[in-house]
């Protein structure tokens, strides 16, 4: 069954991909091995998993300003997520998404986005409209 999730209009282009979800927070500096394309922070719930070409669904952004440069560098090297969805973005991740041309949305009307989408769900992210559509639930596959 298709699920339509309204959010605040976001940044970047309309993209489609498979979700990778955790209730954890996110920083490109703190959490990633950007050369390997994996989460590297031992305590992170996605530790060891690849984020490349996934739609990351996380709680909020944390930590420093470096992510604003890093998202573009990750995109240029072909080792970037397709989109990031947050319950609440911070300014850095929004600026970084704008600089990288990466899709980013937050502030979902129906509640905690890390509970509304599950890892493996196939989703369309449409930032200009402020809409995320879940086409296929991983649990239903």
């Amino acid at each position: 069954m298709t699920l339509r999730l309204r959010c605040h209009p976001g940044i970047g282009p309309r993209v489609e991909g498979e979700a990778l979800v955790a209730e954890d927070d996110f920083s490109a500096r703190y959490d990633l091995d950007r050369l390997a394309g994996t989460f590297s922070r031992p305590g992170h719930k996605l530790a060891g998993l690849s984020y490349v070409d996934r739609v990351l669904v996380l709680n909020t952004a944390k930590g420093g300003v470096a992510s604003a440069w890093m998202l573009r560098e990750m995109t240029a090297r072909g080792l970037a997520p397709k989109a990031i969805l947050f319950n609440a973005a911070n300014t850095i991740l929004a600026q970084g998404a704008a600089f990288a041309g990466m899709a980013l949305c937050d502030r979902f009307e129906d509640g905690d986005i890390t509970r509304l989408i599950a890892t493996g769900d196939h989703v369309i992210v449409d930032p200009p409209v402020g809409l995320v559509t879940v086409l296929e639930r991983a649990a239903e596959c």
């Binding site: 500096r29 703190y30 944390k62 573009r72």
Partner: protein, 414 residues
């Protein structure tokens, strides 16, 4: 967003491509956060370490810097955060010529853009602190939280591209911390015991940052009697911004916007949360290492002040860094120059420690230098740095400055 005539002209490219890009970028970000218009800024401060920039970021800066001077030079004073390579000391760290070349290209591009390469995350202690109510566009979360909270200035966390856009145009979208309504307290903490020493202040900051968790929460603290020192506030704020994403705090009776609790609350104050020894030990326990051997001791994040540098020199007096160990001290070029004149750098280096100028340990290819030197077990008095470096392949541990120096001399955490 509502643009005035000058902003529309910049967006139309009438003042050159760099300013056109800058307005376009800021409008996209401003719309995300419902900014109505721009606000003029007096200063900008850009994080531009080459580990973060990568080839793509450096090429972008070079592209802007290739435009004619009238089109490319920043319009307000613009400073830089720590770099990724100290060009006077990179080979011994295991940094490569490729890293150094990227750094040289970045410096050349920034210089051509008219940026003052201060290479510091303690500009508020050393260069030009903003004044209360001044709108600025600062990078480095530690700089932002200190200037918002302790000085009463107004800045969002500005990543490198957005800080540069602000520098090129002299403005930033009016959202977030530029608006009164986002500076009011949303969380309230009662501190049962005043922290003692920089590390304890960092632990308290880290805990509050973790509890707040979001950029849009503003904590107010009660129970702190009398003003902390600048270095204590520095470590407190840097850790808070690191563990959460917190850009502003108030301390009732201490920070300028909070002469008392009511002054920062709209209506009844938020329900209080008490923070005592148990809560602080809960965070500290994640970084324990008593009795363990360590590979490297680091003083950084934020860069050390004159006072901290002098304290490190005093603690090293009559001691030598253990032959199996490294002790790395990161400070700003400004502080380093003063401390050379004062003989402080000489005393630190005579003990076998390394003083790096204009870098900070975690943004100078920490993973690569760790691998090159066989550093895994890292000890620091900085709560911010032990929070960051777990993701870089280190096993970070926390101790006060005195115990860090003892560990550097003996190879083992007391």
């Amino acid at each position: 967003m509502k643009l005035n005539g000058e902003e529309r002209a910049m967006l139309a490219g009438e003042t050159g491509e760099p300013r056109r890009w800058a307005v376009e970028h800021m409008v996209e970000v401003g719309r995300m956060f419902d900014a109505v218009d721009f606000v003029p800024v007096a200063q900008a401060h850009m994080m531009a370490d080459t580990e973060s920039l990568g080839e793509a970021g450096v090429a972008f800066l070079e592209g802007l810097a290739a435009h004619p001077p009238a089109e490319r030079r920043v319009r307000v004073p613009m400073l830089t955060d720590p770099r990724g390579v100290d060009l006077s000391y990179y080979r011994p760290l295991g940094q490569t010529e490729e890293m150094a070349d990227l750094e040289r290209r970045t410096i050349a591009a920034c210089t051509n853009l008219g940026i003052l390469m201060t290479d510091s995350c303690v500009t508020y202690q050393t260069i030009m602190p903003p004044v209360r109510g001044e709108h600025v566009a600062y990078g480095d979360t530690g700089v932002v939280i200190y200037c918002n909270s302790v000085l009463g200035a107004r800045s969002n966390f500005e990543g490198g591209p957005s800080a540069l856009a602000a520098g090129l145009t002299g403005r930033t979208p009016r959202y977030g911390l530029h608006l009164d309504r986002n500076r009011r307290a949303t969380r309230r903490f009662i501190v049962a015991e005043r922290p003692e020493g920089l590390t304890d202040w960092g632990v308290l900051g880290g805990l509050i940052g973790r509890l707040c968790g979001s950029y849009w929460e503003v904590p107010v603290l009660e129970g702190i009697e009398g003003a902390p020192t600048s270095d204590e506030m520095k470590h407190f704020g840097a850790a808070m911004a690191s563990f959460g994403s917190t850009p502003l705090f108030h301390i009732a009776g201490v920070t300028p916007e909070a002469p008392d609790l009511e002054a920062v609350c709209d209506g009844p104050p938020p329900e209080p949360v008490e923070i005592g020894r148990k809560e602080l030990e809960g965070l500290r326990g994640n970084f324990g290492a008593s009795g363990d051997e360590v590979d490297v001791v680091v003083f950084a994040a934020p860069q050390l002040s004159h006072v901290e540098m002098a304290r490190v020199a005093d603690l090293l007096e009559g001691r030598r860094v253990h032959e199996r160990m490294a002790l790395v001290v990161c400070t700003s070029p400004t502080v380093a120059a003063d401390c050379e004149r004062l003989g402080i750098v000489g005393r630190i280096e005579a003990a076998g420690a390394v003083v790096l100028r204009g870098t900070c340990f975690y943004n100078q290819y920490a993973r690569e230098i760790g691998e090159a030197n066989g550093w895994t077990r890292l000890l620091s008095n900085s709560v911010k740095i032990v929070n960051i470096l777990g993701g870089y392949g280190y096993r970070p541990a926390l101790a006060g400055m005195e115990d860090c120096v003892t560990a550097a001399a003996t190879g083992r955490v007391p």
